[in-house]
């Protein structure tokens, strides 16, 4: 099993680089899948991505030696599937129609991170051995490793069970039978959050507990795989403007978790030589501006190489495309650049 995880902040083109990596693997004869979070419309169309839990095979021309597959991380659909697959038959409908369930996918901070791990588990059960993961566009993308572990610890410690049991007990016997301290605490929490809300959430937990336990077990296994450096490689995608800041942040975040930094990919670099005879007027102004921006990009990349050349396995530059070709054609071009950089 090989997993490549791309990390990066918003607007750096992480999804395209991830998809191009999977495409390159498919061309090299692998059955490869890219798991993406929120692709641009044209990339979505090119990858034939639908909302929902299913992965799609992407047809390429010419056909690759292997296979290219794509899947979308749809938090709600992934959660629905987990409920249907692992919930007690008697509670599945109660869970799915619960008012708290309706909001949990959006409101529970880090739900995306929790579900990414669940989705990787689903995919590996379906036989995918080469998975490229495009994480949420933020600097806290590594949370998708921390959150499931924290969640599993909570579930394992029995607090969910306790909440569930307490709630069932209270609703069947009335609140008066609880210990005085517990009543006090409930009353206080209710007075802060509102009684209706607290009861709804407790009710939800009482039926959701078995799902949460099953999830926690699977998440522990998946995170262990992701933490195995012989299986998983972490790569950072950035742009020249953000390169030094992002490299500093992610290098430290990975180091703190004992993960090796695979590579840093500086995307959207202006690689074309500026023209020398730019004439007068707007042409002159445009070229002066272009040259200056390009020089500061080059300086940033050089500084990145000298500072992180030792820490990162590799540092690659990917040129910015001059037009909108976000579809398969754009991926092919990025894949070519990735190959070229690899050969160099």
């Amino acid at each position: 099993m090989k997993i490549v995880v791309y990390l990066g902040t918003g607007g750096v083109g992480k999804t395209s680089v991830a998809a191009a990596t999977a495409m390159q693997q498919a061309r090299a004869g692998k059955k490869s899948l890219v798991l993406t979070i929120d692709p641009a419309l044209r990339l979505r169309t090119a990858l034939r991505l639908n909302e929902g839990p299913l992965e799609q095979q992407v047809t390429l021309d010419p056909a690759p030696a292997g296979e290219l597959w794509a899947a979308l991380l749809d938090v709600r659909a992934t959660l629905d599937e987990a409920v249907r697959q692992y919930g007690k038959p008697s509670s599945v409908e109660r869970i799915l129609s619960h008012p708290i369930y309706a909001t949990i996918a959006d409101s529970l901070a880090g739900m995306q991170e929790l579900m990414a791990v669940e989705r990787i588990d689903q995919l590996s059960r379906r036989g995918f051995r080469h998975i490229v993961v495009d994480t949420a566009p933020s600097r806290h993308a590594l949370e998708f490793l921390d959150k499931p572990v924290a969640f599993a610890d909570l579930v394992g410690s029995g607090w969910v069970k306790l909440v569930g049991r307490t709630y069932r007990f209270v609703s069947s016997t009335g609140i008066a039978s609880l210990g005085r301290r517990t009543i006090d605490l409930y009353a206080r929490i209710e007075s802060v959050l509102g009684a209706n809300l607290v009861r709804q959430i407790l009710d939800f937990y009482s039926i959701f507990v078995s799902i949460a336990e099953g999830y926690a077990d699977r998440a522990k296994n998946t995170v262990a795989i992701l933490k195995d450096p012989s299986v998983t490689e972490f790569r950072v995608v950035t742009t020249p403007q953000k390169a030094l800041r992002d490299a500093a942040f992610f290098t430290e975040a990975l180091r703190a978790r004992n993960f090796p930094l695979g590579g840093i990919y500086v995307n959207r670099v202006w690689v074309h030589e500026p023209a020398h005879d730019s004439g007068e007027g707007i042409g002159r102004r445009l070229m002066d501006w272009y040259r200056a921006v390009r020089e500061s990009q080059t300086a940033a990349v050089n500084q990145l190489r000298s500072q992180y050349g030792g820490a990162a396995r590799e540092i690659r530059v990917i040129g910015e495309l001059e037009r909108d070709i976000d579809g398969v054609e754009a991926l092919e071009r990025i894949a070519v650049e990735l190959r070229m950089a690899q050969g160099a």
């Binding site: 959050l193 509102g194 607290v198 004439g279 501006w289």
Partner: protein, 308 residues
């Protein structure tokens, strides 16, 4: 959380848009410019995690911009702290407060209660906007900037006050209704969608503006076009001349800059025709020494065209 008096008319300027377009940088740049002009500015950010809030460094502010340093305030509101504060205010005894805050059931309720954190964040934002010195009655701040989270979370935050009513009854639900009114009052909320001229960012900006209009009756005051090419604001005749002159393969960099610039120009005019508000172009900064220098240069690029 009571209804503000209508005479106050405190405004909140909201920098909103897709992740990675430069909302934090642009809001800080404009804040620096205004603070340097002597106005008291507070920039409030609300990223879900504290460590992401201010990735832009203000190192050197005191020595290089002493006037701004005295007038510029950057605040990160941590929703969990805000809720803890409510608990502290509700219960006067410290051991009660501690037993609640350290309770795991309470902690998990805070995480899953739909919109609770957003609700308290909005309440504090409103409070900051309304706050004024007791003696003179003048506002604590001349300008309040909200460096909003990326589109989805931003709209989710605005919806929170409204959705809260569904789950609650009593005083909190009433407060939610108050908040919902405050944050859909066009006289109070100055929306400044910020975008780069890239396809995804532009699409998201248009969708966000449609949602703001439909759900909150808020129209943008201006749209900030960040990191733009010099061609975006160039004269059409000049561009025609340039297009006629470029073509030889030896001028690859020019071809690239021209193609990208024309694309950005087309997108800028697309946004302008759809939203019918003022476009403020911020040319991509060529080079800068450090974060503070970048903010200063963006502030200059905004020039007199700066809204708010």
């Amino acid at each position: 959380m009571s209804l503000p008096s209508q005479s106050a008319q405190s405004q909140i300027v909201v920098f909103c848009g897709k992740g990675g377009v430069g909302k934090t940088t642009v809001s800080l740049a404009l804040a620096l410019k205004r603070a340097n002009e002597g106005r008291k500015v507070v920039v409030v950010s609300s990223h879900p995690l504290r460590e992401l809030a201010v990735a832009v460094s203000l190192d050197g502010l005191n020595t290089r911009f002493p006037v701004a340093a005295a007038n510029l305030f950057v605040v990160h509101l941590e929703p969990r702290d805000l809720i803890a504060e409510v608990v502290q205010k509700t219960f006067p005894m410290e051991w009660v407060v501690n037993s609640i805050l350290s309770n795991r059931i309470y902690q998990s309720l805070i995480e899953v209660a739909p919109g609770l954190k957003e609700f308290y964040f909005l309440a504090r934002l409103q409070q900051l906007a309304e706050r004024r010195a007791e003696a003179s009655g003048t506002p604590d701040f001349d300008l309040l900037f909200w460096d909003a989270p990326s589109t989805g979370h931003f709209l989710g935050t605005l919806r929170a006050a409204r959705n809260f009513e569904t789950f609650l009854s009593g005083p909190l639900a009433a407060a939610g209704a108050d908040l919902a009114r405050f944050f859909s009052n066009a006289a109070r909320i100055i929306a400044l969608p910020t975008t780069t001229l890239e396809e995804m960012a532009v699409t998201e900006t248009l969708e966000m503006c449609a949602a703001l209009e439909k759900e909150f009756q808020l129209a943008p005051s201006a749209v900030l076009l960040n990191m733009a090419s010099p061609l975006v604001d160039a004269e059409a005749t000049e561009i025609e001349k340039l297009q006629a002159a470029v073509g030889a393969p030896s001028r690859e960099g020019m071809r690239f800059a021209l193609d990208r610039g024309l694309l950005e120009r087309a997108r800028a005019s697309d946004i302008a025709s759809r939203l019918r508000v003022r476009m403020v172009t911020i040319e991509r900064v060529r080079a800068w020494k450090d974060d503070l220098d970048l903010l200063d240069r963006i502030g200059q690029a905004l020039g007199a065209a700066a809204p708010a």
